[in-house]
Amino acid sequence: MNRQRLIKTLVVSAILLLSGCTNIEPWVKPYERAHLADPVMQFNRNPVADAYFIHVTQSRESARGAEGGSGGGCGCN
């Protein structure tokens, strides 16, 4: 439990620290993101159907959690 807490603190700290480094040049430039903007490159292309399939598995399996998030895409502003 203590080790878990420490790991979580370290992970979140690292992320928050790194978020300050806005001078890291993105190695994929915005004009190179055409493929990432394609609908086939979305983890969550059909949110309703994906949520349903998660419901089907969670009703019959013991495992739950860590099923999805957001990000990628066109990176538009």
């Binding site: 430039k29 915005p30 004009y31 190179e32 538009c76």
Partner: protein, 166 residues
């Protein structure tokens, strides 16, 4: 553990709310010259527009805010082109096919240039989509806008008018 995580959330949230995002900047220096093929087939060179105010807009067909901005730039171009102003659209896609299709459905009256080898995008250090650079009559870069949100057209109007009056 629950309290630790609750405190984390509170801290992250507070920190984020404290920062004020600003997405515009003042530029200096000569606008790098370039020659690109346009949608009409002919080559267009930036230095041909010396003496006029130029708004260079970097866009892509897959970028929602870029598409939203196009009609507004078209209107701006039509409104001020008689006073020595032009909009130059620079499409940054490596494959211009989608862009040409979009222009067929949503035609614009300003020249659209194709930067399919990303030469100009790199020279202008494009790090946001869309990006807009305003160049004055002497060929110097003056203003930069990263991204597009409705309401930005007011700022464009003010800055364009200012540069035209110079």
């Amino acid at each position: 553990m629950k309290q630790c995580i609750r405190q984390w959330f509170a801290t992250v949230l507070t920190s984020i709310l404290l920062t004020t995002p600003v997405f515009a900047g003042i530029l200096s220096g000569e606008a790098p010259d370039f020659t690109l093929r346009s949608d009409t087939g002919e080559n267009i060179r930036l230095s041909e527009y010396r003496g006029e105010v130029v708004l260079i807009n970097f866009w892509a067909s897959w970028c929602g805010p870029c598409r939203q901005e196009m009609p507004i730039l078209d209107e701006l171009h039509n409104q001020y082109k008689g006073l020595g102003f032009t909009v130059l659209g620079v499409n940054v896609e490596q494959d211009p096919q989608q862009a040409r299709k979009l222009l067929k459905n949503m035609p614009v009256s300003f020249p659209v240039l194709f930067d399919d080898r990303s030469v100009v995008s790199k020279e202008y250090d494009v790090i946001a989509m869309p990006s807009t650079v305003l160049v004055d009559r002497d060929g110097n870069m003056r203003y930069l806008h990263k991204g597009y949100k409705p309401g930005l057209e007011q700022v464009y109007l003010e800055q364009v008018r200012e540069l035209i009056r110079e």
